[in-house]
């Protein structure tokens, strides 16, 4: 049975619009940690100066249809919400083993040194702050199906 939820919302990043202002990281950090130390952000903007056209890459949780992190968790601290499609971490169960970070194709879950657990994007209850505060519209929220149609266009296809 397909696990794809066509109405699931996801965050989509357009590298050509990003200016690297880091405001998404600040907004994320403040929402989740009440701090402006963007090193703790769940979205990371990676700078690649050698590639001027698409200089920035955003690393953020894709809330995968079939999450590797979930499969790797030894204590079942990760669940995929059937209704929203969001991949959620239960920090009361998490033992901080980092298996999810190793399993994730983009190593997205991060070990939080203060709380000694793994943390990652929770989609801000449907209103992702990174998208809301993005200065140029490089980050957008859209349905997964819509995003899937959008991506080939951005890669130069139809």
């Amino acid at each position: 049975m397909s696990k794809v939820n066509p109405t699931q919302e996801v965050i989509v990043f357009d590298p050509e619009k990003c200016t690297g202002c880091t405001y998404c990281m600040i907004a994320c950090t403040f929402k989740h940690h009440q701090s402006t130390d963007f090193e703790r952000s769940f979205i990371r903007i990676i700078d690649d100066p050698e590639s001027p056209k698409v200089r920035f890459i955003a690393i953020h949780c894709a809330h995968c249809d079939d999450p590797y992190c979930l499969a790797s968790c030894p204590v079942e601290a990760i669940v995929k919400d059937v209704e929203s499609g969001l991949v959620k971490f239960n920090t009361n169960r998490c033992i901080g083993c980092m298996a999810c970070q190793i399993a994730c194709p983009i190593s997205n879950p991060r070990f939080d040194r203060e709380r000694r657990v793994m943390l990652k994007c929770d989609f801000c209850d449907g209103d992702p702050q990174c998208v809301k505060f993005c200065t140029t519209g490089a980050l957008q929220k859209m349905m997964r199906e819509e995003a899937r149609k959008e991506f080939p266009k951005r890669l130069g296809g139809e």
Binding site: K17, A27, T36
Partner: protein, 294 residues
């Protein structure tokens, strides 16, 4: 009365930085708008916009209410607003559209404002200075009144993140305004890169070395005579960064000029009249070249 006619008088929202740390921009604006027959109406009792970075992140309701209050000053006096600062423009236009679209939000804001005898009604249009100059004053009028031009001065435009939105044509208009007064636009590899203002709140070293320094190096390498911008926050960042980064072996000395200063000089202003000597990083060489131009 059409918006265009109405905008021959404009209520200026100066923001925090221009009157306090960049007075030459205020002087140049007053000089230029007078020459262009645009009457400035003062917005007395305005507060900080407030800034669209930290204020908005930490208290979105307070941010919205204070911005709504600023807009209501123009609403109540039946004026349109113009701002030079990209941050102020972002805050005021975002709040204005939120309050227009969501009656619950405008009701919340007005519930606070009415205690002070104020009301937001959404009747004012908010202009960026680029729009005011390009659309309202108009390209033809600008061309016809300039006394001297920049004679090919190599200008590296700093657009600022907030005017690089997908649907915004401010970038194109900004370029046109530069060429209109005789500037040669120098496009750089990092022209989209943020100057580092938002990151400064979080990590000053990152903001200095990964953003401002990268841009300054690139602009220097591209051979630009100066950086031209509207946003006072970007200007402040660049000048402070140049001061912080300059060592005996590595001097930057890249003049950072607001477009309105260049415009005022092209309209016949003397440097001392607008206070160009107050820049932290001297602009004398560039100003001298403009004065020699015919």
């Amino acid at each position: 009365m059409s918006i265009q006619q109405k905008c021959k008088t404009i209520m200026m929202f100066w923001g925090c930085m221009i009157p306090t740390v960049e007075p030459y921009v205020e002087k140049a604006t007053r000089y230029s708008l007078e020459k262009l027959d645009v009457k400035i109406i003062e917005m007395y009792e305005a507060t900080c916009c407030p800034d669209p970075e930290i204020s908005r992140t930490m208290g979105i309701d307070l941010w919205r209410t204070l911005a709504g209050r600023n807009i209501s000053i123009a609403n109540m006096s039946k004026n349109n607003i113009c701002t030079i600062c990209n941050g102020c423009f972002d805050t005021l236009t975002k709040v204005d559209s939120e309050l227009r679209e969501d009656p619950r939000l405008s009701e919340n804001v007005n519930n606070v404002l009415k205690r002070y005898g104020m009301e937001y009604d959404g009747s004012s249009r908010i202009y960026h200075m680029i729009e005011l100059l390009h659309d309202t004053v108009g390209v033809d009028k600008l061309k016809s009144v300039i006394d001297r031009d920049l004679s090919g001065l190599k200008c590296a435009p700093q657009y600022g993140c907030r005017i690089l939105r997908e649907k915004s044509d401010l970038k194109v208009k900004f370029d046109r305004l530069i060429t209109l007064i005789g500037g040669e636009i120098i496009h750089t590899k990092t022209e989209r890169l943020c100057c580092g203002v938002p990151a400064m709140y979080s990590n000053p070293d990152f903001a200095l070395h990964q953003r401002a320094e990268v841009k300054l190096e690139d602009i220097r390498e591209a051979g630009a005579d100066c950086i031209v911008l509207f946003c006072p926050a970007c200007a402040e960042r660049f000048e402070r960064a140049e001061m912080a980064l300059t060592t005996e072996d590595n001097e930057f000395n890249i003049s950072v000029l607001n477009y309105l200063e260049l415009l005022a000089l092209c309209l016949g202003a003397l440097p001392e009249e607008i206070g160009t000597h107050l820049h932290r990083v001297p602009v004398d060489q560039v100003v001298g070249r403009i004065l020699k131009a015919k």
